[in-house]
Symmetry: C2
Subunit: 160 residues, 2 copies
């Protein structure tokens, strides 16, 4: 895996700045028990996400974060460190999304993005498509989430 | 699409209650602008999710919900109406996740689940796998999210 740092700051980043076969570090985030419960009470109130006692008797042996929460926390790190604030046009979807291991209270999640391929849109030449693999890993190096998705970004030379 | 209602309440539902080729109604949910912004400020603070003015100048022509928010709202309806509270063992992931149209403030989202196939686990015969397609549609009948995923549920006859 070839780690790479962006030359351009996040507010001046365009399609051309995302390089295939490069992996970008997107920072880390501590996950507190209180926010696991708060998120899940609102969006995914299953016993093993909201009740430490019941979670202790579940197959997970303790409280675990909702997969949607892990996704949302990962997105936050992507938005802070990776996704251009001026050229992002969003994403049409995700090819695969896996949660191979649970996220537990006190875990620190680290996110990386590997750009798999980049290509200019044929139908809309002002933008390009960046296909990438996002990995979320805990402090033990265990992967807790992985996804492959496509994102649209404006091209630099067609703007302004 | 064959709509079906569960015979068993959500607290007494096991693997056997999820029937292949049946579609289950999972209810509806109004989405307010305030919660679109609140969710996105926390997890996906891109301009078109948090700032109505900037969103108005974006390709979306107005504020749209984070895809993770749409996923979380859909999950809430699934947990309230579909996912057994006693037999769910979670999900290893999602095969495909699409956001074919944006969610906007004031939209009412309706969720359905079509069970594609069910099978007993070979390695762990106390549980079964339910593969299903979840569709989230707005008040105009436009699909805003779709996903295919697998979920594990305990079997009724192996419990107690």
């Amino acid at each position: 895996m070839k780690f790479k740092e962006f030359v351009t700051p996040i507010g001046a980043r365009y399609f051309e700045d995302y390089e295939a076969d490069c992996t970008y570090d997107c920072g880390q985030r501590l996950v507190l028990e209180s926010e696991i419960i708060e998120f899940a009470q609102r969006y995914d109130p299953q016993p093993f996400h909201i009740d430490p006692l019941e979670a202790g008797h579940s197959i997970y042996g303790g409280l675990i974060a909702s997969g949607w929460h892990t996704g949302a926390l990962t997105m936050r790190l992507l938005v802070e460190n990776y996704v251009s604030t001026v050229a992002s046009l969003g994403s049409p979807g995700i090819e695969t999304l896996r949660w191979p291991a649970p996220v537990r209270p006190g875990d620190t999640l680290a996110v990386t993005v590997e750009v798999l391929e980049t290509r200019v849109s044929q139908s809309k030449p002002d933008r390009g498509i960046v296909r990438s693999e996002v990995r979320t890993v805990n402090q033990k190096g265990v992967q807790v989430m992985g996804l492959v998705s496509a994102n649209f970004f404006l091209r630099r030379n067609t703007v302004g």
